[in-house]
């Protein structure tokens, strides 16, 4: 378990609304002048050595993203993704509320390292209060001279703006987010005619502590393939749903018991988990016994850690019902989807729903299953916008593991009748 000393996001367990003074007391924006006095290349080499990963579904190593900027003369735009995630993924929003100052500091340092002069923080329109919190802190940073021209007398200029984006779910693709920010389609990898770099809000917020405490400290927290810590959001059938920070590489079972108070009904009742919100392939209980929360461990089970939004389900909900509910989010809330998404995904939903009823319905020889597999394959191949491929991840996970599941209707419960009779 992570110690208080190693915690990057120190306000996350306390969830207090911070002022600038509080943030400085917990170490934010301290020592920033020393870092900005160094050469960008020397800071970049530290980040490259740390092998820190992007904290979104891609999980790529951050320095590999920066390589795409090499050989381009124009100064890049920096876009920080603080938009809404899939159901279950609330960690970005918690960071916006409780670690706002760290986000600004991390964005400034990232811009310094990659040579950017202008950045945008992308916020969703359905979280207006979070947008206003971020606006206030950015304004405070301008007043304190931490954003704008000649920051801390170093001659470095960086302007950061908070962008109010669409309420639609655009997190699945960086290109889609850039298009949503600009309000129209942009050539791939560019924004307003310049190169663009998109980072998740948690990635940039972790960078200041990494640079201040050093690469060795950072590497000591995780595993060789997954260095550092991660903010997880825990929801579903656990006794205490919460958002917490933990070292990468810890055991799933220990984490659930320590932070979430255990699975409802006990560990033996665990049925499945979604490791990165409902947009990731689910894992069955049999895989979870010795599962560790790291990028390499989950990829060995054909899933991914991604945003670390752990959605836990116990035996009261079948895989089929969970998959149908998860998939309906993608079917009914597409952004600007293409023809294959808008017409094909509802067909897949119908086929998926018709698999209910018999224990052996997901068996490989079942014609409906075969039909669903064909549709899944065809749509994912032909869809150019990338949405269908992302949306069908959950169906593919179900087809892999769902064989022999019993049917269950989540809306048919006796507790409703009890409540009505009681009144």
């Amino acid at each position: 378990m992570i110690s208080e000393h190693d915690r990057i996001f120190k306000n996350l367990p306390h969830q207090k609304e911070l002022t600038l003074k509080d943030a400085q007391e917990q170490g934010d924006w301290m020592g920033l002048g020393d870092l900005l006095a160094q050469k960008p290349d020397s800071l970049q080499s530290l980040v490259r050595a740390s092998q820190i990963r992007e904290k979104d579904d891609s999980g790529v190593i951050v320095s590999e993203k920066w390589n795409s900027l090499q050989g381009k003369d124009l100064t890049p735009f920096l876009v920080i993704d603080a938009s809404r995630g899939v159901p279950g993924d609330v960690s970005a929003l918690y960071l916006v509320y409780y670690e706002t100052y760290k986000i600004i500091e991390g964005t400034l340092l990232t811009a310094f390292m990659v040579g950017s002069e202008r950045g945008y923080i992308y916020m969703s329109a359905d979280q207006p209060h979070a947008f206003e919190v971020m606006q206030r802190v950015v304004q405070e940073a301008y007043t304190e001279g931490l954003l704008g021209n000649n920051i801390m007398g170093t001659g470095f200029n960086f302007h950061l703006e908070v962008h109010l984006g669409s309420a639609a779910y655009v997190k699945y693709s960086a290109d889609k987010m850039i298009d949503a920010l600009a309000g129209e389609r942009q050539p791939r990898g560019t924004l307003f005619g310049k190169p663009v770099l998109v980072h998740h809000v948690e990635t940039v917020a972790a960078l200041p502590t990494l640079l201040k405490k050093g690469v060795n400290w950072f590497a000591s927290l995780g595993t060789p393939g997954s260095a550092g810590t991660k903010v997880f959001s825990l929801s579903g059938h656990v006794n205490r749903p919460c958002v917490f920070e933990e070292r990468l590489g810890v055991s799933l079972r220990t984490t659930l018991e320590h932070h979430g108070g255990g699975v409802r009904g006990g560990w033996s009742h665990l049925n499945f988990i979604f490791p990165s919100g409902i947009g990731s392939p689910l894992l069955l209980r049999s895989f979870c016994q010795d599962l560790t929360l790291s990028y390499e461990s989950l990829s060995s089970f054909h899933s991914f850690l991604g945003s670390g939004a752990l959605v836990i389900g116990n035996g009261s909900l079948s895989l089929w019902a969970a998959t149908c509910t998860a998939f309906s989010f993608f079917v009914h809330s597409p952004a600007e989807s293409c023809l294959f998404c808008s017409k094909g995904l509802p067909v897949c939903e119908q086929l998926l729903k018709s698999l209910q009823g018999f224990d052996s319905n997901v068996a490989k020889e079942n014609p409906i299953r075969k039909n669903l597999e064909q549709w899944t394959w065809k749509i994912a191949k032909r869809c150019q916008c990338g949405y269908a491929d992302h949306a069908l991840t959950v169906v593919k996970g179900y087809l892999r593991y769902g064989e022999g599941e019993r049917s269950f209707d989540p809306l048919n419960s006796d507790s409703v009748n009890e409540a009505l009779h009681a009144n």
Partner: protein, 192 residues
Amino acid sequence: MSPESFLNELTTESKSIVEKILKKYPPGQERAGLREILYYLFPQEINFHQRKNILQELAYLCGVSQRFLMEIVRNDLGYKKSEEEIAYTIEVCTSLSCLLRGGGDVMKACEKWLGLPCGGSTVDGQFSLRQKTCFNRCTSGPMVKINEQLKEELTPTKMVFWLQNLTGEGKVSSSEAGTVVRNPYASPSEVE
């Protein structure tokens, strides 16, 4: 038509806000700031959505159609047409995280108590029941939104209490029915 003709239609306060928003983006990329302009102008300007000339000029300035502009207003900013007004709009989150914590039971309780299927409205225009995919408060589920107020960690019993409270059939304090107050996400206007 020029940006000036649009800005001249606004009050001095709104004008300075809009100018500030437009400066965020490079020249010629005004449409990127459209959503934020609308977010500020709707509460600020009187009868903004009925002033067709101002909407036309804003659409022209940002290079979008007026229809596209009104879609943003309805979908992203939640403004509805006046004829759609209902006294209490109840939105129940039925995404997986809320469903696992009993969102389905809460929805059933609403349906039974109101005598409405999901998606319907009462004849007297008092209640409308909708399902919502996610309020992004998954660690506090099941979530319900009644007009602009978010209520968290609901059970069917608590939900029935709240519905009774709306119609004046029951008098319960918020502590009895559980709910709204725990931050992280409710804005000051949303918290009871």
